[in-house]
Amino acid sequence: MLTIGTLFLTLSNTLFRNFRLSGKPSWHPLCCSFAFNPQLGLVGVLDADICGPSQPRVLGVGGERVHHSGSGWSPVYVSDNLCLMSIGFLLGSPDDAVIWRGPKKNGMIKQFLSEVDWGDLDYLLIDTPPGTSDEHLSVVQYLCGAGLTGAVLVSTPQETALLDVRKEISFCRKLKVPLIGVLENMAGFLCPHCKTRSDIFPATTGGVTAMCTEMDVPYLGSLLLQPALARAADDPTLPARDTTNAALDIRAKIMAFCERNSS
């Protein structure tokens, strides 16, 4: 069985991401632009949302199960260079609820990090639920000796979302997790009918850019709300890649940070 120490020697880069969204996993465009790029090497995704795992559906592998092999659990391969581990694969039905207090969730996360045969990953992306509690503490704690490259925070433009992100920033500072930056998702909506742009979630307090300046955190860029992407999360046959220049630019910034900071 793998131990955390040896497992993470194989990880050149670890991306820790906080999840903050309105309505729709903001993870999706970022993750897909990362994951479906063969030049990046092997990318692993760990769904650390124990009570509400959505990565299996978002990545189009909802019905799959994990297999147990000699070297631990095998993650589910979404494509040649993208694999995923989620508690969703261990549940019997979508109706099954994981009614667990903190210690059990922590145990599960530890198992995902130490008993999954991730192989030689180039990147491990960790999707966390909202908050600054057990899941987050455990991920940071278990990874601190193994080279946690940094955290990407995702926010929508309105103050309710920014409020949570400010707390995540304080959390990262407290635990000394490097901040790669904040990206703004669902910044505006392009009407498919008349092509006019409007603000769905008005940035009444200046949006992500103003918050980044105030809190002194890098701003990574902004993504429009794309109905096609939102629906692609429900229907795996639809194309799900965000290939807009904005998304590619954000990805380049994140990768540059990882390259600068990988040991």
Binding site: G52, S133, D134, R231
Partner: protein, 264 residues
Amino acid sequence: MLEGVKRVILVLSGKGGVGKSTVSTQLALTLKEKGYKVGLLDIDLCGPSVPYLLNLENQSVHQGPHGWIPVYLDKEQRLGVMSIGFLLNSRNDAVVWRGPKKTSMIKQFLEDVCWQDLDFLVIDTPPGTSDEHITVMENLRQVPQCSAVLVTTPQQVAIEDVRKEITFCNKTGIPIFGIVENMSGYECPNCSECTNIFSSGGGQSLAEYAKIPYLGSIPIDPRVGSLAGEGKAAIKELPESKTSKVFTDLVTQLTESSKNGDMK
């Protein structure tokens, strides 16, 4: 101190960001507008948004002779609010706590706040089915009139999480009052074409599938988003909106069922 509370309504959803806090605050404001005495308890300890939503951010709770005195929105004290946000020094402060500490804080919120006599206590929750939820369920079991309003957005990823929340309610024995679908379509302010940004109808079909009452759907309305931070009721500020109709209907159904003593 929940002895004087006639009825408790828990606002739950599996997913984050679907609008629990918006529904909780608007529900509380609507009830207040209709003349009820209301309490709003925010048990989202890591991401409290109720103080901001109701424009009460710089207020603090005081210790009275019998326990904590909630923060009141109005002079008549018809809407009292309790949130961990009132106990933090700065709005940027993170509450970095594991489960046991969260559990004892929530117990205090349930036992040590002087709510006085309330017609309704609305409880806003974080997403998930973990410490906060388990604690609140365990401590509310003795309250006779308690039920849950589930909030979802229409897309499958959110619906799947709500199915888990339904299982949670069934397992812990809390009656489900119904499902509200939020963010179900957006009308372009320029051409009035309605786009189903997050697909549509998911809440209604889930209600049918799970045999739970469907309580209506709230569209994405930037005006509703802008009420955040002002503490204003949609039924007063936007009386013609679909949102205000959904909340009016919801309150009617809640009060009818209270009269009939029927919790479902």
